[in-house]
């Protein structure tokens, strides 16, 4: 049940590293369930409304990164509180006016079921539209990253690709990534959890057996890794 400000009492927002809220939704590509993406990565994103200017530029930008995401075993899934017919009309209009084909499905979330489960409606901004949210969901269905942008501000889709790269690198090599990390840059060796491993991290023996090792101090060390 919704309150007058569009919120749902007791609604629990997704949290990092917890299971993504399950859904079955009508989309421009048919009825899709979250489970249909199992085994691969998913970027679920919302936009405020069809046939609006910022959203149109974002859809074109998301379409541009779709091949890059596919190479990373990552799918895109859009969402707004519009009908599937409105979505179809809009994506056809984008193609007609700009030549850009929208290759990914878009959820028609008229009953707000998915938007509510993912906390996409921000009543302080709008009670009728979803904000510009991005959820990165991993192959076992966990929420791994969330981005929330306001209605006024289009997202940087290159950052979405960079984020997927960073998450996949962290999973593959058990490392962290520093600010503004890009594939090919050095990665951060996880902080030592004990005084013993902190001391080891300061040793020349550790440095000599770690490819591309650089040390600022025991808690900030980087190394080179092979590309994924």
């Amino acid at each position: 049940m919704e309150t007058t400000d569009g919120t749902t009492p007791g609604a629990r927002l997704p949290r990092l590293n917890e299971p993504a809220p399950d859904f079955e939704a009508t989309t421009t590509h048919g009825v899709i369930r979250l489970a249909d993406y199992a085994g691969g990565w998913l970027v679920l994103f919302s936009h405020p409304a069809d046939f609006t200017p910022v959203c149109t530029t974002e859809f074109m930008a998301f379409a541009a990164i779709y091949p890059d995401l596919q190479r990373r075993h990552t799918e895109l899934l859009g969402l707004s509180i519009d009908s599937v017919s409105a979505h179809i009309a809009w994506v056809r209009n984008i193609e007609e006016k700009t030549g850009v084909t929208i290759p990914f499905p878009v959820i028609a979330d008229l009953d707000r079921a998915v938007a509510t489960a993912y906390g996409m409606v921000m009543p302080g901004e709008s009670t009728t539209e979803t904000s510009r949210c991005v959820f990165v969901i991993d192959p076992i269905g966990r929420v791994r990253a969330m981005i929330y942008y306001p209605l006024t501000t289009g997202r940087n889709t290159a950052e979405v690709v960079r984020l997927v790269d960073a998450l996949q690198m962290s999973d593959a090599r058990q490392v962290a990534t520093p600010a503004n990390w890009r594939p090919g840059d050095k990665v951060i060796i996880p902080t030592p959890p004990t005084v013993e491993t902190a001391a080891e991290r300061m040793s020349e023996e550790f440095a000599s057996r770690t490819e591309g090792f650089e040390r600022v101090d025991w808690y900030l060390c980087t190394k080179s890794v092979e590309a994924l």
């Binding site: 048919g30 009825v31 369930r33």
Partner: protein, 84 residues
């Protein structure tokens, strides 16, 4: 619907999925055969199974009739939810 038209005939992606099931296959195998994304294959096969066009035996789907088989009965000219 993605694989079934409102009149009950198969859409292009529906025909591609049924054709790929000339031999029983897993969704992953169908995705490789058709070039469709795995999420579309899983979604489409679920829809076709509900319509009786394909059936699931273990982890493999099979077509229930010859390739191009149409589901039993139509769903009316306006689709399952009416034309609005």
């Amino acid at each position: 619907m993605a694989c079934l038209n409102a009149d009950g005939t198969l859409s292009p992606s529906g025909r591609a999925l049924v054709a790929a099931l000339a031999t029983p296959s897993t969704p992953e195998e169908v995705a490789r055969t058709t070039g469709l994304a795995l999420y579309r294959v899983r979604s489409g096969l679920r829809e076709l199974a509900a319509a009786g066009v394909v059936a699931l035996d273990g982890d493999r789907y099979r077509a229930t009739g010859p390739s191009g088989h149409e589901p039993r009965g139509g769903r009316g000219p306006d689709g399952p939810r009416g034309g609005g």
